[in-house]
């Protein structure tokens, strides 16, 4: 019995301290790095989650939308917990709790019972269904199942039930976001396109972005322009809802009628070309008006481009208040450049964030040294490399696509940097490398309120710049000799 593995019984042993120390030193070496980069199968500390998580985020972004996981309830618990921890907000979502029988009989019964219960209990205006692994593998036919649910009266005929296939063994959270968003827009806009009608509004697609401050910032910018808009999907009020003593399961989100009418929009602008690729590809062919997909407005230059694009698409001039804000941001950059100039950064994150962060770093004279995406494409790799090549500060930078945070650890231990930019998961590498971690990413499990601080736009430039520079000064103040401890910095 004891030898089920065919191994001998051995004494309980302690690893000698010298051996521990030897290995502890070894994992910081170039030799180890090579071994580490030779990995073919094992993934260690990836910086991406699976599709349904992103799907849930998109699903939350619509008014009265109840995210519905077709799959195990354990999956749903994981997604919800992640969102709870990041936003420190409720994330109401249900699952249809598939179990072993599902493998045999398929998930239709679960789906039907789930729809019936959740519709009655949580009174959603829309149920947004997405899948976890199990139904993807057994091949559940959601189209048929949902049709049957309506026929059997589990849900009203007119209740929108968009659904997305979001297999976890494909892509990452940004792709699940894209798939769910697409499904929702396809569902809601079906039959809503009216020849000649124009809402006069701009549809803005922020893409997968778990920073509610960013979404509010887009809205503030559009309001400054005087551009009427619909954000698709608007998670800002959902995941930054006031505490006034009342719990509201649906505290915000894009209004369904606005989403439906978005097909008749004047302009549709997708920000971040990676996390809304599919959705944009579809709506470009199906939405009225003008369309554009541009990078997320991180840094001065990309914010300039965003404002110019808004102006170009809407014919509205760039408002004076934003020009002034640009001046404030630039003022900070020139005043504080000496605290960041030449500092080396390891940066990792989702593709659209990465492109923005690298752009910002280059324009303030910092050196993005290790640029890593744990789920990316050749196209992304090229785009990042071209960005690095565009600046003398990118000369030493290298791009690593489909490498994980254990690779990153090897990089920062063998080619040191001054700081890491990423999400909470980077804290272990940052601790080992004894450098600060700037949490400009998702998820953030260990600091408060950061999701409310915008990173995009000129305001975002100011936030990132002061956060980074002040932390670097903190480090100087906290680590310098007494005789170097000074009043001014």
């Amino acid at each position: 019995m004891a030898n089920n593995l065919g191994l001998k019984v051995k004494p309980v042993t302690e690893i000698p301290e010298a051996e521990v120390n030897r290995v502890a030193a070894w994992i910081n070496t170039e030799e180890y790095k090579e071994k580490n980069f030779a990995r073919q199968a094992l993934v260690i500390n990836p910086a991406h989650a699976c599709q349904p998580l992103g799907a849930e985020l998109a699903a939350h972004g619509f008014e009265g939308s109840l995210p519905f996981v077709h799959g195990s309830q354990g999956c749903a618990s994981y997604y919800r917990s992640t969102l709870n921890r990041h936003f420190r907000e409720p994330a109401p979502a249900v699952s249809d709790a598939m179990t072993e029988d599902g493998a045999v009989f398929g998930g239709q019964n679960n789906l039907h019972e789930g729809l019936e219960n959740s519709y009655k209990l949580y009174k959603p205006k829309m149920i947004s269904v997405f899948t976890s692994c199990m139904p993807e593998i057994i091949g559940d036919d959601l189209t048929a199942f949902i049709k049957n649910a309506r026929i059997k009266g589990f849900v009203p005929n007119d209740l929108p039930i968009p659904y997305a296939n979001t297999p976890s063994f494909n892509g990452s959270h940004i792709h699940g976001y894209d798939a769910m968003l697409l499904a929702i827009l396809q569902t809601l806009t079906q039959g809503k396109k009216v020849e000649g009608r124009c809402t006069g509004k701009l549809n803005l697609l922020p893409g997968f972005d778990a920073n509610t401050g960013n979404i509010r910032e887009y809205k503030r910018i559009l309001e400054a322009f005087g551009i009427p808009y619909t954000v698709l999907a608007d998670i800002s009020d959902v995941f930054d809802s006031p505490n006034d003593g009342t719990y509201r399961p649906y505290p915000g989100g894009t209004k369904l009628e606005d989403a439906a009418d978005s097909v008749n929009g004047k302009v549709t602008l997708a920000l971040g070309t990676y996390s809304t690729a599919k959705t944009y590809g579809w709506l470009k062919d199906n939405y009225s008006g003008k369309h554009a997909s541009i990078p997320m407005p991180f840094g001065i230059a990309k914010t300039d481009a965003f404002l110019l694009k808004l102006s170009e698409l809407t014919g509205k001039p760039i408002p004076a208040s934003l020009k002034e804000e640009r001046g404030h941001a630039v003022d900070l950059l020139t005043d504080a450049h000496q605290y960041i100039h030449g500092k080396k950064f390891a940066v990792y994150g989702d593709p659209d964030y990465l492109l923005g962060l690298v752009s910002f770093l280059l324009e303030v004279g910092a050196k993005p040294t290790h640029v890593l995406c744990s789920k990316g494409t050749k196209k992304l790799e090229k785009e990042l490399q071209a960005l690095l090549d565009s600046s003398p500060f990118g000369k030493e930078g290298k791009v690593y696509v489909n490498k994980d945070l254990w690779h990153l650890r090897s990089l920062v231990m063998t080619e040191p940097v001054d700081a890491i930019i990423g999400d909470t998961h980077g804290k272990f590498a940052a601790r080992d490398a004894k450098v600060p971690l700037f949490r400009f990413g998702f998820p953030i499990f260990d600091r408060v309120n950061l999701h409310r601080e915008p990173l995009i736009g000129y305001q975002g430039v100011m936030n990132m710049m002061s956060t980074i520079c002040n932390k670097f000064i903190d480090v100087v103040d906290e680590t310098c000799d007494d005789r170097q401890f000074e009043m001014m910095r």
């Binding site: 309980v12 994981y78 992640t82 109401p92 949580y122 809802s241 080992d432």
Partner: protein, 481 residues
């Protein structure tokens, strides 16, 4: 155990049942019927379960439950510090469970301690062609990169079982080739109804692959015990293990908080198993009792009353030397705990708490609140079984509500009616109740605090409960306009 019947002013079986009936009215007929069996007023005197449990979650409700994988990875295997635990399948499961249970670990990360997220990151092609080959490769890579790892666990995610991979065979071959234990654990998330089956499967796997594969080099002593079902949340084991040692015991192994594979594998040599989390590990206690004749005892390390009771119950099984030490320990700590009670009780006396946690704390912590003058007005479990509810009956005040696998809407409704001063539950519930201006503590994770176990833990528990209940921020929720 107290035999006195505890009551709560204003709460009767009728009032509780009425409250339950109200919430059941929210369900469609079928759902209502299913849920009805899981909600009931406590019958303290009965000493037995008043609700059904360990049943499938009702589809479409907001359940707090996890899955078998969560029970295996998060609870049983994950805390063993010197093994590499591979989440075998798509990237998500391992990512979600990475660092999100606070089973603290000693050692140097990546050297002799592995709190990282190891995954085979299944892609479409792995689902189509099978992942066994990838698994074999990654096991070799793990061995190469982490030469001091004592073993590797392979924790299957849903697709693995569904596509028919044979991880047991891969593990067997790899074990021999790499000369370290590679433990296959078929804990796919679709198995069973909750985390609970994951515990059971993991226990069985330990039984099948781990136990009896190691032996302590030193001779077995009369006070050699193992601490079972102690996961070192927020450092709990670093409170309870020294406490048992202070009482004269040699704690040869901890299952599995800050755990070491070798010691777990040699646990068949101990004289007694002391179990804290009965739900997740009673299987193994029973196995060891049957197979090796090791008796076991269930203890409660929350709050001075239960700690005192528990230590004396434990001492009863040993000689006078232990009894004396235990009395000395109680005499040493009781005044300290009394001082804590005197500090906090005036601010907490008469406050009401509602609990909804996993498989242990909904009953084990009740008395700790009572030590602080508080009353439990509702309790329930995510994944308990009838034996857990049996044990709960006597701890809870009579007629208070018991809920099994509660859905959020039920909890919300009960909170509206019962108006507790504190809710102790999980991250998914936390912000909902805080929006209702109800003080809340996460009682899975000690809300990033801890330890809460033992004498080291109670002062921290008391401070945290006071902080939650008496934070002046709650008074700010209502605007003067």
């Amino acid at each position: 155990m107290s035999t006195e019947i505890k009551t709560v002013e204003g709460i009767t079986k009728e009032s509780t049942q009425a409250m339950i009936n109200e919430v059941l009215e929210l369900y469609p007929e079928k759902g209502k019927k299913k849920r009805a069996a899981h909600l009931a007023p406590n019958d303290q005197a009965s000493g037995s379960a008043c609700v059904k449990s360990n049943k499938k979650t009702v589809p479409g409700v907001m359940s707090a439950r996890g899955c078998a994988y969560a029970g295996a990875k998060g609870v049983v295997w994950g805390p063993i510090r010197d093994m590499v635990h591979v989440s075998h399948g798509p990237v998500g499961c391992g990512w979600y469970s990475w660092g999100t249970r606070r089973n603290l670990m000693s050692g140097i990360t990546g050297v002799n301690s592995f709190p990282m997220q190891f995954t085979s990151d299944f892609q479409e092609k792995d689902v189509v062609y099978g992942g066994d080959k990838k698994l074999a490769t990654l096991l070799q890579e793990a061995k190469d990169l982490f030469p001091l790892a004592k073993g590797i666990s392979v924790l299957s995610e849903c697709p693995v079982g569904l596509i028919g991979d044979d991880i047991n065979q891969v593990a067997k071959v790899a074990s021999k080739e790499l000369d370290i234990p590679v433990i296959p654990c078929n804990c796919e998330g679709f198995r069973g109804v909750s985390q609970s089956l994951g515990h059971h499967i993991s226990n069985d796997t330990i039984r099948d692959y781990i136990i009896e594969t190691r032996e302590f080099p030193e001779p077995v002593g009369p006070y050699d015990i193992a601490l079972i079902g102690e996961y070192n949340i927020g450092g709990d084991a670093w409170s309870t293990k020294p406490l048992l040692e202070e009482c004269g015991f040699n704690v040869k192994a901890v299952w599995t908080g800050d755990g070491e594979m070798d010691r777990i594998a040699a646990t068949h040599q101990v004289k007694l198993n002391v179990i804290h989390c009965y739900r997740s590990m009673n299987y193994m206690c029973k196995v060891m009792e049957e197979k090796y004749g090791i008796p076991w005892i269930e203890l409660n390390f929350f709050g001075p009353t239960k700690i005192r009771e528990s230590l004396r119950k434990l001492a009863e099984l040993f000689d006078d030397s232990i009894k004396e030490k235990v009395e000395a320990v109680i005499a040493k700590y009781d005044p300290q705990m009394q001082a804590i009670i005197e500090e906090y009780k005036p601010r907490l006396d008469g406050k009401k708490v509602m609990l909804y946690v996993g498989g242990l704390r909904p009953r084990h912590t009740i008395n700790a609140y009572e030590d602080l003058g508080m009353t439990c007005v509702g309790s329930g479990y995510e994944f308990a079984h009838t034996d857990d509810y049996d044990r709960t009956a006597s701890e809870m005040p009579d007629a208070t509500v018991v809920y099994d696998d509660a859905s959020e809407i039920e909890m919300e409704h009960f909170a509206h009616i019962l108006k507790p001063d504190l809710i102790g539950s999980g991250i998914k519930e936390k912000y909902l109740f805080q929006k209702m201006a109800i003080p809340f503590r996460q009682m899975h994770s000690w809300d990033y605090s801890g330890p809460y176990h033992g004498y080291k833990g109670f002062p921290i528990f008391a401070r945290d409960i006071d902080m939650a209940v008496n934070s002046p921020t709650w008074k700010l929720v209502e605007a003067p306009f």
